[in-house]
Amino acid sequence: MKVLSLYVENDTFIHKLEPITKLLYALISIVITFLFPSIMVGAVFVAFSLLLAISAKVFKRMLLLLNVVLIVLLSMVIIQGLFYRQNVTPAFKLWGLTFYKEGLLYSLLLIVRVVNMIISFGVLILTTRPSDLVDNLVQKGLSPRFGYVLASVLQIIPQMLSTTSTITDAQRSRGLETEGNLFQRFSAFFALLGPLVLNSLVEARERAMAIEIRGFSVEGKRTFVRQIPETKADRWIKISLYVAFIVAVVWRIILWVM
């Protein structure tokens, strides 16, 4: 793997949206599901995010992402079902353990929030080239230095991993035991750490020099070879998202006051 990216190349409406629009959707949908302690609101957003994933043809990949957190979600059901503070009404018994209705409902609320978080961010990550997201953010005012750090990490970490395997091979060829019991593995790790850190520092310095002589520190207006256009659709989606956000905040305040 050369790049830390889950991007799935495709040509759908969602892929063509400005990355910031997708980021905004992810953030606002997460905030709204957290503002309202309602399973219904959460479920609506989960359903909508899923619809986006399906229309972007990334549903299968999305299931893989959800698989990763499956155990965490299950543990939520068990822990809240058994030990939620406001547990009063028994729902069912399993192997002698009583699960309570209040806990199960609360765990369901947590699950829709987490699932929405994963799906809405999943839509962003699976349908956006990482460098486009960073470029888009820099175009909107993010510091180019910070943007560089974000973008380069995605490629440089896999490079470091490949350096690690080269160093491991070199050390093994000189008799270092990298397999065996925990102690052997641990001492092998330290033998790799020195060359890896030094090598990475040298490379980082050279890379810093290389980008410096290509004008990285030049102040002033930057241009972008991939100018990511803000389409009409983007503008309308953003306006709708802002409106939804404001309505949600106002509504929440009214509910809280009443």
Binding site: V3, E203, M209, A210, I213, S217, K221, R222, T223
Partner: protein, 294 residues
């Protein structure tokens, strides 16, 4: 470009890295004409890379330390020249092709655009310049590939293209072939040969002398931070002291020195072509049939 005028002038340049015990460059004085190609040679620690860093402005901007003397390009002081101006004057290509890639760009095309974006070049001009250099360096077919998927030679060509797209008048190459195989080395030297025809002033640090001598007009010999010689390759390599500095010499020069074969001008041949010409000239003179016992 192409007119014979002093492009780079260095006068009594001395530089010491921060925390270093000794100076890395000591009282260097030399001048380079526009359009010339200069080879910089010397053993490790001679100050070759340091000289490149001074000329490209990395010293004192990136590396601090103590610098004295005068370094000018087109009469303008390099250490105080604004960065955006200096970048348009001087391009530097480093040793390791992998660490020169910005790492922030996903395709070869975007990688070449990196420097242009930093300088705020307009989009149309950017596309035009990128297309030209990618074709010039035979990378156009690779434009949508990830830079890290290229071979070493291609990557070094990409590094040179990424610098040349900024249209510098001077290109400095610091051991550009040290990590490349023979094919990658040939690719880089062919590129340098193309650049010479464009009138770009070239400085190249290189240990592969047999290749180097074919492309440069003059050679600067550095030893322990001092400039010991600045002359044509045949002058530099014909001296008897060259072997004492631990820099080596072209295999053809070493061979001819061993055989006592000199050119008509009294210097030893430095390239394959010169050696062959010399040996051909000896045919029939009886020397080609002599038994060599040296």
């Amino acid at each position: 470009m192409g007119d014979v005028s002093t492009k780079i002038s260095i006068e009594h340049l001395t530089y010491k890295y921060p925390f270093a015990k000794n100076v890395s460059l000591e009282d260097i004085t030399l001048s380079i004409d526009a359009g010339q190609s200069i080879g910089i040679i010397g053993r490790n620690g001679a100050g070759k890379s340091t000289l490149c860093y001074v000329l490209s402005g990395l010293i004192p901007r990136f590396f601090h330390g103590k610098i004295t003397g005068k370094v000018t390009i087109d009469g303008e002081d390099v250490p105080t020249m604004p960065v955006e101006k200096l970048i348009r004057k001087v391009g530097l290509v480093l040793q390791n092709p992998f660490s020169q890639i910005s790492g922030a760009k996903m395709t070869v095309y975007e990688e070449v655009a990196f420097g242009l974006e930093n300088l705020g070049i307009e989009k149309d001009e950017m596309h035009e310049r990128i297309d030209t250099v990618l074709r010039q360096f035979d990378l156009y077919k690779k434009k949508d590939e990830n830079p890290f998927e290229l071979s070493g030679g291609q990557l070094q060509r990409l590094a040179i293209a990424s610098v040349l797209v900024l249209k510098p008048e001077i290109l400095i190459l610091d051991e550009p072939t040290s990590q490349l195989d023979p094919r990658g080395t040939t690719e880089v030297f062919e590129t340098i040969s193309q650049l010479k025809t464009l009138g770009i002033t070239i400085l190249i640090v290189e240990h592969k002398f047999e290749k180097l001598v074919e492309y440069v007009d003059k050679i600067a010999l550095l030893h322990e931070g001092k400039l010991l010689g600045y002359d044509t390759a045949e002058h530099i390599f014909s001296t008897s002291e060259i072997e004492t500095y631990g820099v080596g010499q072209p295999i053809y020069t070493a061979l001819c020195k061993r055989m006592g074969l000199k050119k008509a001008n009294g210097y030893y041949p430095v390239s394959f072509g010169e050696t062959v010409a010399l040996l051909n000239g000896l045919k029939g003179s009886g020397m080609d049939r002599r038994t060599y016992n040296g």
